[in-house]
């Protein structure tokens, strides 16, 4: 039955190629959506995970925040994400704004809803005020719980290692599914 097997080979290669292309398209689409989000929302991190409880009960650890940034001035009451050179950005509410008449630069003070004190002690280089340039975005929307996956992966190093082992199996599983469900 040698000649049957010879005829199977080119079809097999075509199948693998088309599935590789499908996978590539899925990954490219995800990248396009992510970059598009960055562009549309004007923020380098359009989606962030809440890591601490300082904005409870409004935001809890593991919630996801959608950010948007534009040139509108920062005003009291807005919930902003800022990073003035720290490891992890902070999501807190603006409680004071002092905007200068000529330069339009503003001194800003923030505070977590659940904290007793404002953030002055947290600002880097003993700054007394936060500058607008450190603000990465304003929180405009919110999804509960979904961010826990990211927290688990960063908090527990073992799971972090496993994700490298698991990922190829997941990919193979997906490819396998494609093989089973493909028309050819």
């Amino acid at each position: 039955m040698g000649w049957v097997e010879e005829n199977m080979k080119p079809t097999h290669i075509r199948q693998i190629l088309s599935q590789a292309i499908s996978l590539g398209m899925v990954i490219s689409s995800a990248l396009i959506i992510w970059k598009g989000l960055i562009c549309i929302t004007g923020s380098e991190s359009p989606v962030v995970v809440v890591l601490s409880g300082s904005m409870e009960p409004g935001f809890k650890r593991g919630d996801i925040l959608f950010l948007y940034m534009n040139k509108d001035p920062i005003r009291a009451g807005q919930i902003v994400v800022f990073n003035d050179g720290r490891d992890v950005p902070i999501v807190h509410r603006v409680i004071e704004v002092h905007e200068q008449r000529d330069s339009k630069e503003a001194d800003i003070l923030t505070k977590g809803d659940a904290n007793l004190d404002d953030d002055r002690m947290l600002y880097t280089s003993s700054n007394r005020w936060l500058q607008q340039k450190y603000i990465m975005g304003r929180a405009v929307g919110f999804l509960p719980y979904v961010g826990w996956l990211t927290i688990i992966m960063t908090d527990k190093p073992i799971i972090k290692c496993f994700r490298f082992i698991l990922l190829p199996y997941i990919l193979l599983g997906a490819l396998g599914l494609l093989v089973i469900t493909s028309k050819e």
Binding site: P57, G58, A76, G77, E96, V97, H98, D113, F142
Partner: protein, 124 residues
């Protein structure tokens, strides 16, 4: 919704201490998707150097519709300190902001502005 005030005690940079009566009915903000409403009162004023100063004086979280109609009398929770000594005789607005935080989805906020307040010409 109304707010009144009483005292003023500055030292160093100008600082004001005031007492407010706040009555509000925010029940209409609550829907099935509302987790809480964050409200705060801020003073807004201009100075020679700054076109806008906003200082939050008091805030609260309303966790449910039943608590959304209230009357409270309180002195300012947060210190009202100026970036200088500009507060004598200063006119300012008091704004009440509300920030509706949903169980899921888009947050929205709004405010009302009450103008016409002013501080005494001399320190008390």
């Amino acid at each position: 919704m109304n707010i009144n005030w009483f005292q003023k005690q500055p030292k160093g940079s100008d600082e004001v201490s005031l007492t407010m009566n706040i009555s509000a009915d925010l029940q209409s903000l609550f829907t099935w998707n509302t987790k809480q409403v964050f409200i705060f009162v801020a003073a807004e004023y201009e100075t020679r150097k700054n076109s806008l100063n906003q200082v939050s004086l008091w805030d609260a979280i309303i966790p449910a519709k039943e608590r959304a109609k209230f009357w409270i009398r309180s002195s300012n929770k947060y210190r009202f300190v100026d970036h200088g000594k500009n507060l004598r005789g200063k006119e300012f607005n008091l704004t009440l902001h509300w920030h509706v935080m949903p169980k899921t989805g888009k947050m929205f906020a709004d405010k009302i502005v009450m103008s016409g307040y002013s501080l005494p010409e001399e320190y008390i």
